[in-house]
């Protein structure tokens, strides 16, 4: 187990390094971060030269990458300047926007796990029942639904037509408390929270549905497979109650492969979050990525891709550890 952990951690380093380099190279191709300045009549060409020099933009790609990576790991220069939000560094911009993304995507991740695993087990135990068919259809629906369109549909139905939920944003600008307008930041914490939850309900539904279908199906087939294993028969032959047979012997084995699947689905989750934020106009890092790419905000885009990669890699790493903990065959190898 210890060797395994050490090996997995060591493996992370080259992977992250490669991701960093590839994304750096790609994003650099997107454009010149200082190009916008050229159009500005108030900025002198010498200043642009100076800026280019400060950010090593006049150096070869590999050198520039090295400095950027150094800055990313040890952010003295704040990961570069944002052209999208003038006067801000990429680090400042991103760190302000990261909490909302984490809040709603982790909520939907947990919701998806809580829904898909029991429903998948239920579906498998009642194979070919009406409930199984309904769940199967629901799962396929979730798997096939284009996220962005689903988001638009929910907005149309629940925001535009029914007015139950807001159509955009993740909090209101101000509250009216006792007839007095109070800015969001100044409002009591519980009001902030309720308001955010209200705003994020639809996005969370979108992102949960996006994930739940595939896992439900996978859990179902995993459970079906395990149900016919020899050790399940042994458990019955021992005279254990059916509940123990299913939930102790079958379930534990069936859920192990799901852990890997969830770990591998992090890139999808990030993509889904990006689309959802864009559709619902939530100022998280997903929407920021889109805006940064569209406005050629090179430093911000680069940092974001790097952050996403780290998240994915950490997700995979955690899944591997959970897997090893859950399965003694791995644990001791």
């Amino acid at each position: 187990m210890r060797n395994y952990l050490i090996r997995r951690s060591l493996e992370l380093i080259p992977v992250l390094f490669a991701i960093a380099f590839v994304s750096f190279w790609l994003v650099s191709k997107m454009g010149d971060p200082f190009a916008v300045l050229v159009l500005n009549p108030h900025v002198r060409p010498e200043d642009i030269q100076r800026l280019r020099h400060i950010w090593h933009w006049d150096d070869p790609l590999v050198v520039r990458f090295w400095y950027w990576l150094k800055d990313f790991v040890w952010p003295r220069q704040g990961w570069g300047l944002s052209t999208l939000a003038p006067g801000q560094t990429a680090l400042q911009l991103i760190s302000r926007r990261i909490p909302v993304t984490i809040a709603f995507s982790s909520t939907s991740l947990i919701a998806a796990i809580i829904l898909s695993i029991p429903l998948g087990v239920y579906s498998a135990l009642r194979q070919y029942s009406v409930a199984d068919y309904i769940l199967t259809f629901f799962a396929f629906f979730g798997m096939s639904m284009p996220t962005f369109w689903f988001g638009i549909m929910l907005i149309y139905l629940f925001a535009v037509k029914l007015h139950w939920f807001p159509a955009a944003g993740y909090h209101r600008a101000f509250f009216i408390i006792n007839g007095v307008p109070v800015m969001f930041d100044k409002a009591p914490r519980w009001m902030q929270f309720l308001d955010e939850a209200w705003h994020l309900t639809l996005p969370i539904i979108v992102l949960t549905v996006f994930q739940v279908g595939g896992w439900l199906r996978y859990m179902r087939s995993s459970m079906l497979e395990v149900k016919s294993m020899d050790y399940v028969r042994t458990a019955r032959a021992k005279g254990l109650p059916e509940r123990t047979v299913i939930y102790k012997h079958a379930f534990r084995n069936a859920v192990i492969p799901i852990i890997t699947l969830i770990g591998l689905s992090f890139p999808g989750l990030i993509g889904g979050a990006m689309i959802t934020e864009t559709v619902f106009a939530i100022d998280g890092i997903g929407r920021l990525t889109y805006n940064a790419v569209m406005s050629q905000d090179v430093f911000v885009a680069m940092a974001l891709i790097m952050i996403f990669s780290i998240l994915v890699v950490i997700g995979n790493f955690l899944a591997d550890i959970f897997y090893a903990v859950a399965d003694p065959r791995i644990r001791y190898s």
Partner: protein, 337 residues
């Protein structure tokens, strides 16, 4: 005593070793080696059936497959008709494959499920570009008849046949090139009792008709006794005893051979024989005992057994034993410790 004494040696194996790496540690490097075959030497005379018997992990199958260069030997020499083939590359081996063939254990896994039977049997001819397609097809029909398959089933797929029939297909594929030497790797152990005899009979019949030499690999001693001229007993990658069939069964000298023979159940309720029940498990070939590999379960083991590996020595008349206490002329000096 052996009528094979003046016969030509077709295959000779000298100090053959085959180690498989066990990967592990932080860098997935080999941290240990499975000593599947560990310094094995024997020879096979032309036209005989030489058998290797042993339990799982004894390396008998690995020996057979290494001889055919399906595994690269770690060290040692394999001489086929006098040529040392142990360092032959795959392309150098290719022409030799016409003379050396193999019959596999698993009648289900050894046939490509997506190819019709005719194609499976024709494949060797196609690979070696023997004859025109029409000639090849005629040869396939001929071989199918020889092994007792109806030629009408040419276009059927393996899954449409029963285990015994599939084994016949595997045998047809092995003999279609007219080989001289065949490794039969547990050819009947996956078959039902009533089918085993049919396949054994076919193997014996083909040996006579086609002048084949067999290296017969099996764990069932009763089967081995029925088909072999000479037998080698393997344990944990090493040969323990080699002798003529009759000699081995009448006069087993190695304690392991004795235990193995006594462990075989006899299909006769009246025969109640004194069992030698070996204690303990077969050790892992990753970490075999020092000295004699059998010493951990041997009731005669003494200190010397842990210190020195007993060599396989000829004690006379082609009877070889690897035990410190068996001397020339079959004199036995072991006693219970």
């Amino acid at each position: 005593m052996s009528e094979f004494k003046d016969k030509k040696i077709i295959l000779e194996v000298k100090n053959l070793k085959k180690y498989f790496p066990v990967l592990g540690g932080v860098f997935s490097r080999p941290v240990a080696w499975v000593k599947a075959v560990d310094d094995v030497s024997f020879h096979i005379y032309e036209g005989e059936t030489f058998s290797l018997v042993g339990e799982s992990g004894s390396g008998k199958t690995t020996t057979g497959k290494t001889i055919l260069k399906l595994h690269e030997p770690t060290s040692g020499h394999i001489l086929f008709e006098g040529k040392d083939i142990s360092n032959y590359s795959p392309s150098e081996m290719r022409p030799l494959r016409r003379d050396m063939q193999i019959i596999f254990q698993d009648p289900y896994g050894s046939l490509n499920p997506r190819l019709p039977v005719g194609e499976i049997i024709r494949e060797p001819l196609a690979v070696h570009k023997i004859g025109t397609k029409k000639e090849q097809e005629e040869r396939v029909v001929e071989i199918m008849k020889l092994v007792g398959l109806r030629p009408e089933y040419l276009h059927r797929y393996p899954h449409e046949f029963s285990g015994g029939q599939r084994q016949r297909i595997g045998i047809a594929r092995a003999v279609v090139l007219n080989p001289k030497f065949i490794v039969a790797d547990e050819p009947v152990s996956a078959l039902d009792a009533s089918i085993q005899a049919q396949v054994l009979n076919l193997l014996l019949e083909l040996q006579q008709k086609l002048a084949l030499t067999y290296l017969f690999i099996a764990h069932n001693l009763a089967v081995v006794r029925h088909v072999s001229d000479r037998i080698g007993v393997m344990y944990l990658g090493k040969l323990m005893e080699v002798a003529d069939t009759k000699e081995l069964f009448d006069n087993p000298l190695h304690p392991y051979t004795q235990a193995l023979l006594s462990a075989i159940p006899i299909p006769d309720p009246d025969v109640k024989k004194e069992r030698i029940i070996l204690q303990g498990d077969i050790p892992s070939p990753i970490n075999p005992p020092s000295g004699c590999p059998f010493r951990t379960r041997c009731m005669y083991a003494k200190d010397i057994c842990a210190e020195k590996t007993p060599p396989l020595v000829d004690i006379g008349d082609g009877h070889y034993v690897a035990c410190h206490f068996v001397k020339k002329g079959g004199k036995v000096e072991y006693s219970k410790s």
